[in-house]
C-alpha cells in the first residue's frame, strides 16, 4: 500500500510546526491548496500548477498581516464560505510572549465584505491582508471550525478553540457588525460546556442531514468525552466518558464507508441520487489515539463504546501524535493512518472485520500531521504528511490505480 506511493514533492519548514499547523483549502472552482504554518511566523501555501505535460508544485510563503514579530503560531484552520467559488476564511491563533505579559490572539482572515463580492481577482493573498482580531484570555490549543445548524436551515460556521482555561470557546461572527466575538458555548454545544480539562482535539460529525451529531473531545489529562446530540432540541441523547492515562491528541469520528456523491452531470435526465442515505443510522466508528496506542470503537451508535479494538502495532513506534482517516486503497472503506513520533506513518486497514497494520512508512522526522486531499486536482487524493522538518506530498503511482479498479 505504501510502496505504490511516490514522493511528489517535499519542502522544508523554516521552523517546526505542531499537530495543529496544517490545513487544507478546498474549492470546487479552483485548485486545492495546502496551508502549513511553522512556529516562527512563516506560513506556506502549496498548490500544483498544471503545465502542458506535468504538474509544477508551487510553494510560496503567504504574508499574513497582523502577526507581530516574535509571535508564535499555535494553530491554523480554514474553511470555504462559498459552495461554488473561492471564499476562504482562515483562522490563525498566535501567542506573543514578552517579559511580563502574554498576548494571545485569534486572527481571522476573510476577504473584504463588499469589495470582494463576485470579484475574480480576490486571491488568497488579498485574504491574508484582511484581518479581524480576537484577543483571547487563555492560551489556545486546537482551533476547529464546525457548522452550527439553525432552525431556518442556514448553516453558519463557527470557530471552536480549546483553551488552557479548561474550557472550549466558541467564536462567532456577528453578521451585522462583521466582528467576531465569543459567545456562550452552552447554548449551542451543551456537550462541550464544563469540560474541566484541556481539550487537545475536537471532532464533530453531523449525520442524518444535520439532525444529529456526534461530538468527541480528547483531553490532555486522558479524558475522552463522546456525546450524541439531537439537534432538534439540542439535548444530549447519549454520552460517554472514558479515561486514559495518557494525553489524547487525536479523536476522530468516521463512517464505516465513504459516500461520494455521484457527479450531477451523470444521468442528468434521471433524478439526482441522494449521495448519503438519509434514513438508516450510519455505522460510525471512533478512533482514539492516546500517545501510547490507538483504539477503535466500532459502530458506536448501535453498540455504544463497547466494541473496542486496540490497533495492535500502534504502540510499536513511539507515541502517536496524529491520526487521519483516508480511503487510501480506494476500496470504499476507510483506513486509519497514524503518525508517530517514531517518524512513521502506520496504516491500519479493515480486513476480515479486523483492523490490521498493513503498511508503515518511515519519514525523516516525527510526523505531526497527516492529510489526505486532492492537491493535484485530478480526482485522486494525495497523502500529505507534515513532519518536524517539512512537508511530504505522496502521490499514488498511476499504474497502481488501475489495479485497484
Amino acid at each position: 500500500m505504501m510502496s505504490n506511493l511516490i514522493d511528489a514533492h517535499w519542502f522544508p519548514l523554516a521552523s517546526q510546526g505542531n499537530i495543529y499547523s496544517m490545513t487544507k483549502l478546498c474549492s470546487p472552482s479552483s485548485s486545492n491548496k495546502l496551508l502549513v504554518a511553522s512556529l516562527k511566523r512563516k506560513i506556506y501555501s502549496c498548490e500544483y500548477h498544471q503545465m502542458t505535460e506535468f504538474l509544477r508544485p508551487m510553494v510560496k510563503e503567504l504574508l499574513f498581516t497582523y502577526i507581530p514579530s516574535g509571535a508564535e503560531i499555535i494553530s491554523i484552520d480554514a474553511y470555504n464560505k462559498s459552495d461554488t467559488g473561492e471564499s476562504f476564511v482562515i483562522g490563525i491563533t498566535i501567542m506573543k510572549t514578552s517579559t511580563d505579559t502574554i498576548e494571545r490572539y485569534l486572527n481571522i482572515y476573510t476577504e473584504g465584505a463588499i469589495d470582494g463580492e463576485g470579484d475574480e481577482g480576490s486571491s488568497i493573498e488579498a485574504t491574508a491582508q484582511n484581518c479581524l482580531m480576537v484577543e483571547l484570555s487563555y492560551t489556545p490549543y486546537h482551533l476547529y471550525h464546525t457548522v452550527l445548524p439553525q432552525q431556518n436551515f442556514t448553516r453558519e460556521v463557527v470557530w471552536l478553540i480549546s483553551g488552557s482555561d479548561y474550557k472550549i470557546h466558541m467564536i462567532r461572527e456577528d453578521k451585522l457588525s462583521h466582528v467576531y466575538s465569543e459567545s456562550s458555548i452552552e447554548k449551542y454545544f451543551p456537550e462541550l460546556h464544563d469540560l474541566q480539562a484541556i481539550a487537545l482535539w475536537i471532532n464533530i460529525y453531523y449525520y442524518d442531514n444535520y439532525k444529529r451529531r456526534v461530538t468527541a473531545v480528547g483531553c490532555e489529562c486522558g479524558l475522552v468525552k463522546i456525546s450524541v446530540i439531537n439537534m432538534m432540541d439540542l439535548q444530549v441523547s447519549q454520552s460517554w466518558l472514558l479515561r486514559y492515562d495518557k494525553p489524547v491528541p487525536s479523536v476522530i469520528i468516521f463512517p464505516h464507508q465513504n459516500f461520494v456523491c455521484k457527479p450531477a452531470f451523470i444521468n442528468a435526465n434521471t433524478k439526482a441520487e441522494k449521495c448519503i442515505p438519509e434514513d438508516d443510522i450510519p455505522k460510525l466508528n471512533i478512533v482514539i489515539s492516546s500517545t501510547s496506542n490507538a483504539v477503535v470503537f466500532e459502530n458506536i451508535l448501535e453498540h455504544g463504546m463497547k466494541r473496542d479494538v486496540i490497533l495492535s502495532g500502534s504502540e510499536s513506534s513511539d507515541c502517536v501524535l496524529c491520526c487521519c482517516i483516508a480511503d487510501i486503497n480506494m476500496d470504499g472503506q476507510n483506513e486509519i493512518l497514524l503518525g508517530t513520533y517514531g517518524q512513521e506513518v502506520l496504516i491500519f486497514a479493515l480486513t476480515n472485520n479486523a483492523w490490521e497494520l498493513t503498511a508503515r512508512k518511515l519519514f525523516d522526522a516525527p510526523v505531526h500531521s497527516i492529510s489526505y486531499m486532492d492537491i493535484t486536482n485530478d480526482g485522486i487524493k494525495e497523502l500529505i504528511v507534515l513532519t518536524q522538518q517539512g512537508v511530504h506530498i505522496l502521490q499514488v503511482l498511476h499504474m497502481y490505480i488501475f489495479t485497484y479498479i
Binding site: H9, Q257, V260, C261, P263, F265, M330, N377
Partner: protein, 692 residues
Amino acid sequence: MRIPRFIRNVLIGIPIGIAFCDTVGYVAKVEGISMQPALNPDLRYPDYVFLNRWAIRNQDIQRGDIVCITSPKVPDQTLIKRVVGLAGDIVDTRGYKISALQIPEGYCWLEGDHVGHSMDSNIFGPISLGLVTAKATHIVWPPNRHGLTIGDVDNDGDNELVVGTTEGELYIFKGSELWQKITGLGLITSVAIGDIFNYGRNALVVICDIINSQNLEHIDNITEINELSGKMECVHVQRIPTNTKIVLIADVDKDGANEMILGLTDRVVRSYRWSSNADLETGKLIGLNKWECTNQIGTVTLQHTGDGTPTLLVAQPGGTFMRIKCNSADCHSKDTSCEAVDYQTLGISRMRNQNISTEIIGDLEPGTTPFISTLEPKMPNYMPKDKSSKQNFADDSQLGMKTSKSGSLEFKRNYSQPVIRKNSLDMTGEHTRDFTRNQQIVKFYNPADSSSDEVDGNFIGGKVILGEFDEEFNGKFKKKKDTLLPSFKNFSIDDKNKNKSNNNNNDTNNMNQHEKKDKDLNNIVNSENVPKGKPYALATLDGTIMLVQDEVILWAMQVDHQIFALCRLNVTGNNSDEIIACAWDGQTYILDQQRHSVRFQFEEPVRAFCTGNYNVTPGTSSPSLVYNTFNNKIFLYYDVILPSMTISPLNPMKDFESEEMQTLKELLGECSTNEKQQKMQQLTEWLLYGIH
C-alpha cells in the same frame, strides 16, 4: 631579584620556541590560489602546511618539492611554490623574457601549479637558493582530500568504491565493507578504473604524489588485481608529470585501445597508452600526445561526435571548453602531432565571470531525443549488409535488431564508464543486454571489454584471460570464437594488416563488429546530414548549468549554489542520463535533459562527490551518490531511483479507445475546458472512492 616562576618560564620558552621555528619548522596557512589544486582547492577551507626548515638546511631540494621562498620583489612576503628546475636544468619558460634558459648554479626555477595565477619564476626569473626558507612536507589541515570513483576494480562484475586520500591511503569498499586498504601512496590526486592494459580487465590507476618520501617523486601508480590473494596489488609504477589533476581512461582515438588521459594543472592534457613487452608484467605507458589548453583545466571528459568520433572535452574557465580530436588514422601517419583543438566559447560568456572554474561531463545518453530516432531508421539499411558479410555474426545481429533501445541499467553496471559510453554509442548495448537476458547472468565479465582490446600494436596476452571468460559463458559466446578477419574489412589497410598478424587471437570480434557497424553508419550518415552528437553538460562554480549539443546550448539554468562537481547517473531508468550537479554546501541537483530538476540537500559541506552504480549486494547494483565530507566521513546513498522527474496528473483518457472517448464526451456534455477538467475530477473521484 626574584623573578616569578611563570614569567621565567615564558622568558625561557620564547627563545626556545623561536629557535624551534627557525630550525625545525612551523605550521602556516596557505593563502591564494597559486598552488591549486595541490593546495587550497577550495579557497573557503584554507590548507595548513607544515614548513620544514630542517629539510633545507643545506639547500637540498629536489624537483617537485613544494618550497617556501622569500619573495624577491616584496621581501616581507613569503611565497609557496613548486620546484621545477634545479641548477643546470634547461627550462622552458612561460611568459618570461627568455623562452628557454639554463638555470645557473645556486639558483632554482619555481612555478605555481595554477599556471597563470601564480607569481613565480616566470616573473622573477631564477630564484636564489638562499631565498628558499622552508620545504612544505605535510598538509596539516585538512587531514585529507580524496579522489573518489566507482567501478569494478576486481573484475568480479560488481562495482566497488575507491577512495584515495591525501595521506596516501587508498580504500576500496565493496558492498558494505572496507575490502582493502593500501597505504603509503603519498598525496593521491585522482583515481580511475578502466582497462588501461587493454586486455579485457579493469585496473585501478592511482595518481599520487609522494611528497614526503625519500625520493620525492611523483608517481603514477597502477594497481591491479592479484589472482592469488584476491586483493589489489601494485603492478606498475611510473613517473608522470608532477602536477596531474585528472585522470581518465578511455579510447580517445577510436582505435579500440584505451588510452590514459591526464589533465595537468599547467593547462596541458596528455595521453598515454600502455605498451607491453612480451608478458604482461613488464611494460610501460608511452606518451602519445600533448595538447595545450588556453587556460586552467577544470575537468576532462570523453565525448563522441555525431559520427561516433571520440573527442575530449576539456573544461575551461568561464563556462567554455576545448574540444580535442584525436583521430587514430592521423596518429599513425604522423606519430605525435595529431591534435585538432577547438576552443569553444559557446557564445554566452558575456555576463559570466571569465575566470570561474568550470566542470564538464560528456556523452550523456540522450534517451528519447531525436538523436536516437534519426539513427534507428537507418539500422535496416546496414544490418543486412552486416549479415551477409559475416555470417558468423548472424546471431548477434538479429539479437541486436530485436531490441530497439540501447543503454539499459543492467548492462551498464558491469562496466567502467568510458567503455560503456563508447559501446552504447555504437549500439552495442543491444548485444550485451541480450546476453544478460538470455543467460540470466547479471554478473559477467563484459564481453564488450574485448572491444577495448588491441588494434594497433599494443597487443598483450589477451587470449589467456579471455579464455577464462569463455568458460564462464558457455554457449553463445563460444560460437563467436572463430571469426575475426571479415570484420576488419572496412578498416583501413594498415589496421587490417596489423590485425592479420594477430588473428590467432580470436576474441576481438565483438568490438570489430561494432567498429564495422560504426563505419557503415558513418558512411551512410556522412553522405546525408551529419547526425547530432550526444549532449554534454557544463557547470560553473557560480551556478550556471547548461546542456549543450553540438556546441548549441539546449538550455541553461542558474542556481544559487556553487557547483563544484558534475556527474552523470541514470536515476529514472529510462535510458537517458540525468545530470547530477553537487555544490560545496551539499545541495545536489538532479536534472534531466528536459531541464526538469529535483533537488537534494546533503546536510554537510562536501569535499568530494561522485556518482555511479554501486553494488551494495553482489549482483545488483543501484544508482548511488557518494559524498565525502570534511569530517572524514563518506556517505553513500544507494538505490537513488526516481520514478520520474516530474509529477503528472492522472490522465485516464490516455489509453481510451475512440468509442470510450465518445462515451466520455457524451457524459461530460458541452462545456469549457475548465468545466471539463472539474467534471473529470469529480468523475474520477467518484469512480475511485465511491461505492457502486
